[in-house]
């Protein structure tokens, strides 16, 4: 004999359906935002159809190289996008100090990040001598996903002709 499900049982089933639907919607929106923001960020380096939105300049004063970089980002996703750059002291790396810029970009908004870095122990005739200058680039799709990329910027401190 089939018994009718109790009110509490139906409520639990309803909650289960709501949780599943909520998960599906959130995952779909995160996937869309991650794709759109990835295309946007890769576009600042000239990949894809977007025009580059990054400019860098290096000025030498004795054995110190001063790097300034402007990065323009547009948030094409559905969640706020947080972006920051910070210097990292890695073993064998050159001594570098940064202004550690950080910004949070709302949906459909554009922001420009001004990154300044002083690198000491650089010889303009020989560059970094093969030593890296590591920085951490943090990109966060608030509040769900955060990606940190550690990259070497020694290519910006080249040999002065």
């Amino acid at each position: 004999m089939k018994t009718e499900q109790s009110t509490a049982g139906r409520s639990l089933r309803g909650v289960s359906i709501v949780i599943t639907l909520l998960s599906v919607v959130i995952f779909a929106t995160i996937a869309y935002s991650a794709y759109e923001d990835s295309v946007g960020i890769l576009g600042i380096f000239g990949q894809g159809s977007s025009t580059p939105a990054i400019s860098a300049k290096t000025v030498y004063q004795g054995s110190t190289a001063m790097v300034s970089m402007n990065i323009t980002l547009h948030n094409n996703g559905l969640y706020p996008l947080a972006f920051s750059i910070s210097c990292v002291r890695s073993p064998g790396a050159l001594n570098a100090t940064c202004n550690n810029p950080a910004t949070s970009i709302a949906m459909s908004q554009t922001a420009t990040v001004h990154f300044l870095m002083n690198v000491t122990g650089v010889a303009p005739q020989s560059g970094t001598g093969g030593r890296p200058i590591d920085v951490d680039v943090n990109v966060t799709l608030n509040p769900f996903v955060s990606l940190k990329v550690t990259t070497d910027l020694s290519g910006l401190v080249g040999v002065v002709p």
Partner: protein, 155 residues
């Protein structure tokens, strides 16, 4: 007692549970693992704390599939409740351990990547954890007076 479930429907349910669980918990993680190895052979050793391996995938895939299949074969019996709940708990732990608690790191193309997605991981585990909790509660409610409406208020 509970509703009668024929052995034919139990066996069909068990076959479906076996196919679905093998696909979700063995085949998909296997291809993810293979893709990660192709991306960067050292990436797998850097990812997580060494848990992400074929042995782990096969072991937990077998445990989850076994529990779900046994739960389907005992459908309608009280013993199916802990089996199915155990399968959900095992799948939640598998998800958590596979991605190292939501912190995933690897090196590729000279860059170091560190991905952190704990809130997303919780959202991924929530349906399994809720289902593990819902099963026993629903079973107890269906079989006790506390779960039924008062007969004098009916109609």
């Amino acid at each position: 007692m509970g509703e009668y479930v024929s052995w034919r429907s139990r066996i069909l349910g068990a076959a479906f549970a076996a196919a679905l669980n093998i696909f979700v918990w063995v085949v998909v993680p296997y291809f993810l693992y293979s893709d990660l190895l192709k991306l960067e052979p050292t990436a797998v050793s850097a990812a997580g704390s060494g848990i992400f391996s074929l042995d782990f995938i096969y072991t937990f895939g077998a445990i989850i599939t076994g529990l779900e299949v046994m739960g389907a074969l005992t459908n309608g019996m009280a013993v199916s409740v802990p089996l199915i709940s155990g399968g959900y708990i095992a799948s939640a732990y598998f998800t958590y351990a596979l991605v190292n608690g939501g912190t995933f790191a690897l090196e590729a193309a000279g860059l170091k990547f560190a991905l952190s997605f704990q809130p997303l991981l919780f959202l991924l585990m929530l349906p399994s954890l809720f289902s593990a909790f819902k099963g026993p509660i629903s079973f107890l409610l269906e079989r006790t007076e506390a779960g039924r409406g008062a007969s004098d208020l009916a109609g």
